[in-house]
């Protein structure tokens, strides 16, 4: 696994729009959620998949669920978004979503982190 921690940012909505958009050079393809915090939805991550409308993915619901706890916190940070991209080596085998989900859980402190992810 090759992780890369990105600069912190203020708006999770903007980060999600970027990630679920085409990317800077059209490099984003087949975007989907593979994991989320344990109590995100009754039906798990499948219920949170951004729906498609007009050819673009709508991230409003996920963004809202992530934004709300920040504003409700005492003294929320100016830049609450921690963004870490992870990729495997080009020689590594392609991993199924289930395995990426386990990796995401491990990086998000085993899912015990107080914040949504």
């Amino acid at each position: 696994m090759i992780p890369r921690v990105r600069p912190r940012s203020a708006s999770v909505r903007e980060v999600l729009r970027y990630l679920f958009g085409p990317g800077e050079n059209g490099e984003h393809h087949d975007q989907r959620l593979v994991a989320a915090w344990e109590t995100a939805a009754i039906g798990g991550v499948a219920e949170l998949q951004p729906p498609t409308a007009g050819g673009s993915l709508l991230v409003a619901r996920v963004a809202t669920l992530l934004e709300q706890p920040v504003l409700a916190a005492n003294n929320p940070p100016d830049k609450p978004v921690w963004h870490c991209s992870i990729h495997n080596h080009r020689d590594d085998p392609l991993l199924p979503d289930q395995q990426w989900a386990q990796i995401a859980v491990a990086f998000a402190d085993g899912g015990r982190a107080g914040a949504g992810w």
Binding site: T39, A41, G43, T64, L71
Partner: protein
């Protein structure tokens, strides 16, 4: 009475209601124009609140106007609103955990309750944003 036209095809039509009637009726009307994305977001929030988009817009607009009219008093309630919001999150998390342990989360009624809670959280979030500005 208000009628909301559909904005696109939906596989499942959720049950939503107009807000509670007033005996004297509401005789004044505002026309609101929204972009497609704004309309989708309002419609989604309304579904989670169990209201029609029109009913939701009416309720949120009146709540925002009243909070705005309170001025300083509204700003003083930020900590209290945030505490209530955190309690809503705690209830939601407990409900989701319980629902997942009961029949693997297949109980649709519990899912509706979570959606209603999300609607409450969204309205509280709007108020928090207003008093935090």
């Amino acid at each position: 009475m208000s009628v909301d036209s559909p904005t696109g095809s939906r596989a499942v039509v959720p049950v939503t209601w107009n807000r509670a009637r007033m005996p004297a009726g509401r005789l004044n009307c505002l026309n609101v124009r929204l972009a497609d994305e704004e309309m989708r977001e309002v419609s989604a929030a309304a579904r989670r609140a169990g209201l029609t988009p029109t009913g939701y817009a009416e309720e949120v607009a009146v709540a925002a106007a009243r909070a705005d009219a309170q001025g300083g008093a509204a700003r003083a309630t930020r900590a209290e609103l945030a505490r209530v919001q955190r309690e809503v999150f705690a209830v939601r998390a407990a409900l989701v955990s319980a629902a997942r342990s009961i029949a693997g989360g297949s109980d649709g009624s519990l899912r509706e309750v979570v959606e209603r809670l999300d609607g409450v959280a969204e309205r509280l979030h709007g108020l928090l944003r207003r008093v935090s500005a």
